[in-house]
């Protein structure tokens, strides 16, 4: 269950971050922030030559006892980070991939919108709906 979904821009500032309302949402923000290091590590580990073949889905970034963090990077270095609850029956990798794919598709739809300036916060309602569905669905 995705407790938190974040879209991080290339410069590592958040374009969109949303978590299920809990008492300590800031914790998720911190988690996402720290996971960026892992993301960068994974990207750089691939090497320059493999940029083309690098898979967008990064997989499990790091698990903690409560939750797991998954990452996904687009070719334009926009990162999607998803925090899921470990207590939930282990989501299969495929499901995580499909969720990232949906995120990516919605993100490209946003980019297609000429009124969206890349680098702005994402305010799209369609994107919100999609993220909500993902968070609820996994709930």
């Amino acid at each position: 269950m995705a407790v938190c979904i974040a879209v991080i821009a290339k410069e590592n500032y958040p374009l969109y971050i949303r978590s299920i309302p809990t008492e300590n949402e800031l914790k998720f923000h911190y988690t996402v922030h720290t996971s960026l290091d892992v993301v960068d590590e994974k990207i750089s580990a691939m090497g320059k030559a493999l940029v083309d073949q690098r898979e967008l889905y990064l997989g499990l970034l790091y698990p903690t006892e409560d939750y797991k963090v998954y990452g996904y990077v687009t070719n334009s270095k926009v990162k999607f980070v998803m925090v899921v609850d470990s207590s939930n029956t282990a989501l299969r990798d495929n499901e995580i991939r499909s969720m990232f794919r949906k995120l990516h598709n919605s993100y490209t739809d946003i980019m297609c919108n000429p009124f969206y300036n890349p680098g702005d916060r994402i305010h799209s309602r369609a994107f919100d709906n999609m993220v909500t569905s993902m968070m609820m669905q996994v709930c």
Partner: protein, 770 residues
């Protein structure tokens, strides 16, 4: 326009009169004819009537809106009491009797007058009702109009003046007061049954400062109020009032999108109010206006508006970027960053609605969805494709592209409606591949212009493709899209392994769209090539030469029917047939190799003359197309058998194979002739079988021709034209198919040469080491 304070009785009376005059049921505009009748019935002198009309602003606006009508009625009352007509008199005259209309038509009104006068005992209660709701509404709506501030101030003024019993309190200059009155009857009608006037007065007086929420739902749930509010606000502003004509064409004179949008919104709201069930419906005038605006950005109505241009355009509407972004998300249906005409209309409509205070929906309303709009146009689009199909100008990519767009749109609504997954894939390849469009067109015509069936192109295409394979000696080359897949039949050089390979490729073509464009089938060609090399030198020579000829010919092919050797013969369009023959003859003169073919040509032209003589030739194609679905394999077999024929034996096999298959199915014998003719080039012995083939072919043709005449008779005169056009399109289709196959063949040849060169290089290399 000055404000108008109406008593309750007056309000009701005027409302009824307006409804009476509202012959068009627009609920916004009183029919001028009726209004004039009414005024004449008021027994006022004509100049007074004119004066009234002028005062109420109708002449300025050009029509009688609700406000104008009410003002006019009030002025009539004023005039009837003998007071001078002044605008101020509208509100200052106290206890004005209701206007009397004497004409028999207006007995209804006089009856109403009596009715209302009896109800005049409770004018005060409702007047008190007036201030709060509008104030609430104004606060709630926060219309973009510049009158919004005015409205609020007026509401505040009214509220601050406290509920006054007298209905004739001097209202603020803004017209909202009377507008509120307008709204009042609709709300009052609701409220009347709720409570008696007396007690009704009290709660409202208390609720006034508090903006009671009880009537809020009544107002908020009421769609007319926003209509009237916004509509009136437009009427208030004289500059925009000029725009509020019924003709959006005049609106286009406005430079700013905003005022134009507001004007269209006024029209739109008028119309919307007349169709409460669908507030998002675009009226024809609006649509016409949107189309014109689209044209200013993008002259081609079938084209796209790029995102940046659309952004600039809609930014002019001065809506916040966030809302524009949301509107874009709603209206860009296919999420491609560009707006088609329908998407643009939807977006414009949403902008207009938003500017008038409508909240943007979360999802695109159905009436704005491109598919529904496409359905309206699909008939035209269908006709358009039909026209293209029936037109006598087939086989041209540009015109076929335009039907591809409406056909694309057709597939889109059909996609949404019938959820044909196969159709999802096709819009893209359809757009990309003209030949595919042709095939689809062909398919569309073949299935009786059943363009509403997206699966049919798919279903028939795979069989159609081998059909094409059979008809054209195409190279086995499974390129990415299905077209080339379909055309990936083996070429004329095939041997048995290649035959197998060709069947394999044909099966591959059946497997559907393969977006992989990188699949020239390697193994089969190579053994074939070695085989070709290992075969007689004549074949090599002929192969090496003919590609060149073919290349030259193929190059010349697209512009016109090229003078080319064997390839240009055959199942190509019958129209081109004579040209082909001539070309053949010309080529034979040029190429020494083709000298032995002269007898072939003679036979061929004889064959061709035979073919041309029969219009049924073209109907063959129809027959074969009609029967192609059933005979997927047979043409494949015949084709393969054709292509297998490299040696005489093969030719002979081909001939008998062709005969039964052709005779059996009535498939075009045109396909066989080119191939055997080509092969006849290769071997001298082929003259003999060629003669056989010709006779066989003529026999086949005769059989076909015999079978064909029945068909047009059975079909009827009407379909002959259709069939003729179908024929023509098929011809062009086959021409293009042949072209495609030829090009692929050339490619194959080039690959062969390259491989042969490489082999030679390798052979030479060890020598160099020595």
């Amino acid at each position: 326009m000055e404000g108008l304070t109406l008593s309750e009785a007056e309000q009701r009376y005027y409302c009824d009169l307006f409804s009476y005059c509202d012959t068009e049921s627009t609920k916004k505009v009183a029919s001028s004819g009726r209004v004039l009748e009414l005024f004449r019935a008021a027994q006022l002198p004509n100049d007074v009537v004119m004066q009234i009309m002028e005062l109420c602003g109708a002449t300025r606006l050009g029509y009688f809106g609700r406000s104008q009508f009410y003002i006019a009625l009030k002025l009539v009352a004023v005039a009837q009491t003998g007071l001078p007509l002044r605008v101020e008199s509208l509100n200052t005259v106290k206890d004005l009797p209701l206007p009397r209309f004497v004409v028999s038509k207006n007995e209804q009104e006089s009856r109403h007058t009596a009715l209302y006068s009896s109800d005049a005992d409770n004018p005060a209660s409702y007047s008190g009702v007036i201030p709060p709701p509008p104030g609430r509404i104004q606060v709630k709506k926060g219309s973009v109009s510049h009158d919004a501030v005015q409205q609020r101030t007026s509401a505040d003024q009214q509220e601050s003046t406290s509920p006054v019993v007298s209905p004739q309190q001097s209202p603020p200059t803004s017209p909202h007061t009377w507008r509120k009155h307008n709204r009042h009857p609709s709300g009052g009608n609701n409220e009347r049954p709720l409570a008696g006037p007396g007690p009704f007065w009290a709660p409202f007086s208390e609720a006034q400062p508090g903006s009671s929420t009880t009537s809020d739902p009544i107002w908020s749930g009421h769609s007319p109020p926003p209509h009237q509010e916004n509509w009136v606000s437009f009427a208030d502003t004289p500059p925009t009032s000029a725009l509020l004509t019924m003709h959006p064409a005049s609106v286009q004179d406005q430079t700013t999108v905003r005022t134009v949008a507001s004007a269209t919104t006024a029209n739109e709201i008028r119309r919307q109010s007349s169709s409460y069930d669908d507030p998002w419906k675009i009226t024809d005038e609006q649509r016409q206006y949107y189309v014109n605006q689209f044209k200013t950005i993008q002259p081609d109505l079938n084209g796209f508006i790029p995102g940046s241009a659309a952004k600039e355009f809609f930014t002019k509407s001065k809506l916040p970027i966030l809302e524009l972004s949301h509107i874009w998300e709603l209206s860009d249906f296919d999420k491609d960053g560009a707006l088609t005409l329908d998407e643009f209309c939807a977006a414009f409509h949403l902008v207009v609605a938003r500017k008038n205070g409508y909240d943007l929906p979360e999802k695109l309303p159905e009436s704005l969805m491109p598919k529904l709009i496409d359905l309206e146009d699909s008939a035209e689009a269908g006709e358009q494709t039909g026209e293209v199909g029936y037109a006598s100008s087939p086989a041209e990519a540009p015109p076929s592209k335009s039907p591809s767009m409406p056909s694309l749109n057709q597939t889109w609504p059909e996609l949404n409606q019938s959820s044909e997954d196969t159709a999802i894939v096709h819009p893209v390849p359809i757009r990309m591949t003209p030949s595919k469009i042709h095939m689809q067109e062909m398919e569309l015509k073949r299935t009786g212009s059943d363009h509403a069936n997206p699966t049919s192109p798919l279903l028939v295409k795979p069989p159609d493709l081998p059909e094409e394979n059979k008809m054209s000696s195409s190279v086995k080359f499974t390129a990415g899209n299905t077209v080339t897949d379909g055309y990936s039949s083996s070429d004329s050089y095939t041997s048995d392994p290649e035959q197998i390979g060709s069947t394999v490729t044909r099966q591959r073509s059946h497997s559907g769209t393969s977006p992989d464009n990188t699949a020239p089938p390697p193994p089969p060609p190579r053994p074939h090539q070695s085989h070709s090399r290992s075969s007689s030198l004549d074949m090599n020579r002929s192969f090496s030469v003919t590609p060149g000829q073919q290349q030259a010919g193929v190059v010349a092919y697209p512009p016109a029917v090229p003078p080319r050797p064997q390839p240009s013969q055959g199942p190509g369009p019958h129209v081109h047939r004579p040209v082909d023959a001539e070309g053949l003859i010309a080529h034979t003169s040029t190429s020494p190799q083709q000298i032995p073919e002269q007898p072939n040509f003679a036979d061929f032209s004889q064959f061709e003359a035979f073919a041309v003589s029969g219009v049924n030739k073209e109907e063959e194609d129809e027959i074969e197309t009609h029967s192609e679905v059933l005979q997927v394999e047979k043409p494949s077999d015949s084709a393969s058998s054709l292509r297998v024929a490299k040696a005489d034996g093969r030719v002979e096999d081909k001939a008998p194979a062709n005969v039964p298959t052709n005779a059996g199915k009535g498939t075009t014998p045109l396909a066989p002739p080119p191939k055997p003719i080509r092969r006849r080039l290769k071997s001298e012995d082929e003259l003999r079988p060629e003669a056989e083939e010709h006779t066989q072919k003529t026999g086949v043709i005769a059989a076909v021709l015999a079978s064909q005449p029945s068909i047009p008779r059975s079909v009827g005169k009407d379909k002959k034209a259709i069939q003729a056009s179908i024929r023509r399109n098929k011809e062009t289709n086959t021409v293009l198919a042949r072209l495609n196959s030829e090009l692929q063949q050339q490619l194959k040849d080039v690959l062969e040469e390259r491989i042969s060169l490489e082999v030679q290089l390798e052979q030479l290399r060890p020598f160099s080491h020595l």
